[in-house]
């Protein structure tokens, strides 16, 4: 990256935050039409959660702490898969769970930035916590028409992932978050565009470079993304969020993005095998301050297969029909 644009970027997104420093020695390859090359298949699977768990006191953690976190996760998988002893059957009413861990792929390690393990994806605020504004949050959701109903009353009240509309937990973003499985992305570039497809629900964002935002009346799922290059960093700005895509719940995180939010993402290729992905959320309807996160997207040589969700969504009908049967 050229030093002048680095100053712009750091000033732009990180303000006074100690952001990541990456190697200037890596020479970023270019596409056939001359843009920095971000293409390939990438993953953001990691044990690191959006917010910092209470057992960690700092953003950067030691190698020993990272090893311990990986061990605990692996032992947790064993306990989850083998919660019954050989020959034992579930007790009446006992939750038998949805998946065993063969179907999960949340990652096995804490994420690393600058070769240091991290305890949270959030780097600002410094405490690694979402800067919710409790009063505004209450006000915002008090106006949500969905509050009038039970969650089993109508299909629109289920999570967007359960509806197979977009991936749960903000998998397709923005911001693109790691979830329980399918933490894979494909990026393809063409002149004027960067296409980012998330494996989850084949959610595809087509980032228009040097474009202008859609009019306010158009509010696609995942918002409307336009981008530009600042040096070798792709800057993507997303607005026009869909009001139904407010809840971003994964198993290990919950946040919300209001329809009026602005999210800025930075994609910087730092090596053949990594893109540093950074994002800033400006959403004064729900948060006291902006919040900033970062994580690496790691190169994958494996293929992404079709994730057809809606086509086999028997659960939605069963959830609703089950609730109606219970009411009889």
């Amino acid at each position: 990256m050229q030093s002048s644009s680095k100053v712009t970027l750091l000033g732009f997104i990180f303000l006074s935050i100690a952001g990541s420093i990456y190697s200037d020695s890596y020479e970023i390859k270019k596409t056939w039409f001359g843009d920095p090359d971000l293409q390939g298949t990438w993953t953001n699977s990691t044990l690191t959660t959006l917010e910092r768990p209470t057992n960690f006191k700092s953003l950067v953690v030691s190698d020993e702490q990272a090893r311990a976190a990986a061990l605990i996760a692996s032992q947790g998988n064993d306990a989850y898969d083998n919660y019954l002893k050989e020959g034992e059957t579930p007790k009446k009413g006992q939750d038998v769970g949805g998946y065993n861990t063969a179907w999960m792929d949340p990652g096995t390690k804490l994420l690393k930035v600058n070769n240091e393990y991290r305890s949270s994806i959030i780097i600002s605020p410094k405490n690694g916590k979402l800067p919710w504004d409790a009063k505004k949050r209450r006000e915002y959701f008090s106006k949500d028409v969905r509050r009038k109903f039970k969650r089993t009353d109508h299909p629109e009240l289920r999570g967007v992932g359960e509806r197979c509309v977009v991936g749960f937990g903000s998998s397709g973003g923005p911001p693109m978050m790691n979830v329980l499985y399918n933490n894979n992305y494909q990026i393809v570039q063409s002149p004027g565009y960067v296409m980012i497809m998330a494996e989850m629900i084949h959610d595809t964002r087509i980032v228009r470079l040097e474009g202008v935002h859609l009019p306010e009346s158009v509010d696609p799922w995942m918002g409307d993304s336009i981008g530009r290059w600042e040096g070798d960093t792709l800057v993507v700005e997303t607005t026009n969020f869909n009001w139904q895509h407010v809840h971003r719940a994964g198993l290990r995180h919950y946040f919300a993005i209001s329809k009026d939010a602005k999210i800025t993402e930075l994609f910087t290729r730092t090596s053949d095998s990594e893109i540093l992905y950074r994002f800033r959320v400006d959403d004064p309807s729900l948060y006291k301050n902006t919040w900033v996160g970062e994580m690496p997207l790691r190169f994958q040589s494996d293929k992404i297969y079709e994730y057809a969700c809606h086509e086999g969504n028997y659960a939605m009908g069963n959830i609703l029909a089950g609730a109606r049967a219970e009411e009889k």
């Binding site: 056939w32 494909q186 570039q189 063409s190 002149p191 296409m195 497809m197 696609p220 809606h310 939605m316």
Partner: protein
């Protein structure tokens, strides 16, 4: 353009005889024709690949004199009517085996219940190409990726033969290569759940589709797809049509995630009263 003229045009174009020779085509990566852009057909193939008259609706019931729209479609009036179209099948009709033809006709009669498009299911191949929505090709030196507006369907075209698909899927597995100035895609690994159009034309999970995309000039592309499925057809058959490049400020792929639009249809009966 009649098929024979179009073929002559393509051959002459490729030979460089016509003014728009291969060397005049927009150049993409690796010196190949540039397929990047937002493309769309201008035909009625999604209603019916075969020749069809205009009609009052896709689903008709008996009327006193002539068939009339199914009660479920009646309120749509002219909006629900079907525009006429000529066959895009090279030999006019699809060479069904006898039993398969019966199934096609049953599909057509039960269109409202059975067409996967009505339920917003992934469209499959080649139907994705001629849905009445645009699609965008991302053609780079490393990848060929198709993003379809309808249902947010996607296809990543592998550029090396990945071998047999590990599982069946709605959009299948595709791999492609250049044959002179045509980009050829071999697609297989399909399930048997998609249709070719709204008229019940269908296939089994033995389907293989060989597609050929040939840029004719800056704004048009020839699309040819040969369909092989020995369980359903007596022989391979081929469809042919033109893709038009969307230009201008509105040449932007929009989002048509139709899943939410069919929730009432699929789940409305289980809403709380």
């Amino acid at each position: 353009m009649p098929l024979i003229y179009r073929r002559v045009f393509i051959i002459l174009s490729l030979l460089g005889v016509l003014s728009v020779s291969a060397t005049d085509l927009p150049k993409g990566p690796n010196d190949k024709p540039d397929l990047n852009g937002v493309w769309q057909v201008l035909n009625t193939a999604n209603y019916n690949l075969e020749a069809h008259s205009a009609s009052a609706a896709m689903d008709l019931v008996e009327g006193p004199i002539v068939p009339v729209p199914h009660p479920s479609l009646l309120a749509l009036g002219a909006v629900g009517a079907v525009p006429a179209g000529l066959s895009v099948v090279e030999e006019g009709t699809i060479p069904y085996k006898k039993k398969a033809l019966k199934k096609r006709n049953e599909n057509k009669e039960n269109w409202l219940q059975l067409d996967p498009e009505i339920k917003c299911y992934l469209p499959g191949v080649p139907r994705a190409t001629y849905m009445p929505y645009p699609f965008q090709i991302f053609h780079s030196e490393k990848a060929m990726f198709f993003a379809y507006e309808y249902a947010g369907a996607v296809r990543n075209i592998y550029l090396e033969d990945p071998g047999e698909a590990p599982m069946d899927s709605w959009m299948g597995q595709s791999w492609g290569y250049w044959e002179n100035n045509s980009f050829v895609i071999e697609a297989s690994g399909f399930n048997d759940q998609t249709w070719f159009d709204r008229s019940g034309n269908f296939h089994s999970d033995k389907l293989k589709v060989i597609e050929k995309f040939t840029l004719l000039n800056e704004h048009t592309m020839d699309y040819q797809a040969t369909i092989e499925d020995e369980e359903v057809f007596t022989r391979p058959w081929t469809i042919n049509m033109t893709l038009y490049k969307r230009i201008g400020k509105d040449a932007q792929l929009q989002q048509f995630k139709c899943v939410e639009f069919v929730e009432e249809l699929l789940y409305g009966k289980w809403r709380a009263k």
